[in-house]
Subunit: 337 residues, 2 copies
């Protein structure tokens, strides 16, 4: 492991991206997002994706120089075209524009089309909640789950994120994908030569399987069965159909540098709590959160992320040596060096 | 069983309510909602609730003459106070007002405070989707689920509903509560003297139980474990904290005529799909739904309800004899008879 400060890691990531046809602005948005995921202990959405992102920009599958563009707008709606660039600059731009609208109109929806992986969806809604608004976020992703009763993947693992400001301290953030477990857990079991528990995945015939190889050519089981599959359909409509984007089964990989861009979508709902609850909102929320934290053995969602984030800010983050060597190689290959 | 046409059942329910301090307008809204639930095969939200509703209006726990009142408004937000009346007239009023706002602003949020049971949450969003808009709905309810790891009920079973217009035919409707199974299933097991399966409920100490009696003084297990509990918290904030209403653990029963009103809340998000996807929305949605229906053994959510609704429209609905006798007695006691 090689330890780097947040700022060192961010600068390295910016260099790697800038050496692969990514504009400075976009490289900074992507690098900040990957390092923020790493700092929160969400390594699967962190620097492990950097090389694949750079390769997709180098091959042109992702347009590293894309500028987000407003396609349509109204007092409480904003359609942003990510132009098959990275999702992070488009989401940041859309949400920045939407905050002012939600303050003035009471709410605002944002749809992001022709987009890519949203990374940690909770980070986007957290940034909105930091500004005093309640926010919901939805994203689809390449097919990983079948409709209930089916065999073929149609939806992604389709996360839902929610954030709310609090009286004091950072926002309350809820961020979860709609598969029972992450696909990464199946990949890990395969690497270790272990079976997976019943209830994680289905094989290509739609039957429950404990074989990680069969699971990886099959589909992931949705959270809570039929109800989770229905929620995944809801998120698929809200993020893809509603933004004119590709559905999970139409989307290419977030990792592979070849082929057409994934072209998936995200949507967000921003709500000014003052308009619905008046000045009582934060006090009402405190009462609710106290009823949860007052019970033994409970904890609020998102607390682990904040704890790890604080630790990373003081101690830095550890990057595994093979990834760090790859990153250094890409930085050294810079035309500027 | 006594068979009644939809219209006959509706008129009987209106009479029962009008005989119990409910205004004609409110009685019609409540009666229509209960009969619509019955027609869709959702008996637990149907006429079985009529006598309890009438008793709550008679005792004054519910204000049968309440008129929904706009408490605050903006271009894309509407706060409606249900005035501790029934939820149905307040939700109908709020959504009617919000449709025009969503068409003009692109979206609109509605918060309903000092409310009561929303009945079939899917019916409210379905009515919005009939008008060409996409809608999300959230409601809390009296405490039935504990926070993850906890013992005491804080949240209701907190439904989420979603509806979208389609190219042809009625809207696609998703409507689900966030408990693994409905509490009614535990009550049924108790009546039959049967054990319940593991994973349905926890006892008062937060331990998994197969004893329906222990389950009824304990809490229901959330859909999909910790993730479902997090979603229930999200819905609790969106419907109660955000509307200045009572949380699940602060709310009185929807059945008992005694005590303070439940005072829970609902919220809705209305989105004009034209603003985000342009004219492509319905075509994109068709592609998604065909990918689901094209697979064997799959079906879209909500299809059973529509099938039963068509049958009830032609054949009528069956009311059990004891309930029908109670209803007739209440109608006969009318001051007008």
């Amino acid at each position: 492991m090689t330890r780097q400060t947040i700022e060192q890691a961010r600068k390295l990531a910016v260099s790697v991206l800038c050496n692969s046809n990514v504009s400075q602005t976009n490289a900074e948005a992507v690098a900040s997002a990957l390092v923020a995921a790493e700092a929160d202990g969400l390594a699967s959405h962190g620097l492990a994706r950097l090389i694949a992102y750079a390769d997709q920009a180098a091959s042109g599958k992702v347009d590293g120089e894309a500028k987000p563009r407003i396609r349509d707008q109204a007092a409480a709606a904003l359609a942003v075209d990510a132009g098959h660039g990275f999702a992070f600059p488009a989401i940041r731009y859309g949400l920045e524009q939407a905050v002012a609208r939600a303050r003035s109109a009471g709410s605002c929806v944002v749809g992001i089309s022709h987009s890519h992986h949203a990374g940690v969806l909770g980070h986007h809604v957290e940034a909105v909640a930091e500004q005093g608004l309640v926010a919901l976020g939805f994203s689809n992703s390449p097919a990983a789950m079948a409709p209930w009763g089916g065999r073929e993947g149609v939806f992604g693992t389709n996360p839902i994120a929610f954030a709310s400001p609090r009286t004091s301290g950072p926002p309350l953030v809820i961020d979860l994908s709609l598969s029972h477990v992450a696909r990464g857990k199946v990949m890990l079991a395969k690497q270790r030569g272990e079976a997976i528990p019943e209830g994680w995945a289905l094989d290509a015939e739609g039957r429950s399987t404990t074989d990680p190889d069969a699971a990886l050519v099959g589909t992931m089981v949705p959270l809570g069965g039929a109800k989770g599959a229905a929620l995944a359909l809801m998120v698929e409509i809200l993020s893809a159909s509603l933004t004119g984007s590709n559905h999970g089964f139409e989307a290419s990989s977030f990792f592979d540098p070849k082929g057409a861009p994934p072209g998936i979508g995200q949507s967000f709902v921003l709500i000014d709590p003052q308009r619905l609850a008046g000045p009582d909102f934060l006090a009402r929320l405190d009462v609710l959160l106290e009823a949860i934290e007052g019970q033994p053995d409970t904890r609020l969602p998102g607390q682990r992320r904040y704890r790890l984030r604080a630790k990373a800010a003081s101690d830095g983050i550890d990057i595994n040596d093979s990834l760090f060597a790859d990153i250094r190689k890409r930085v050294a290959n810079s035309p500027a060096h």
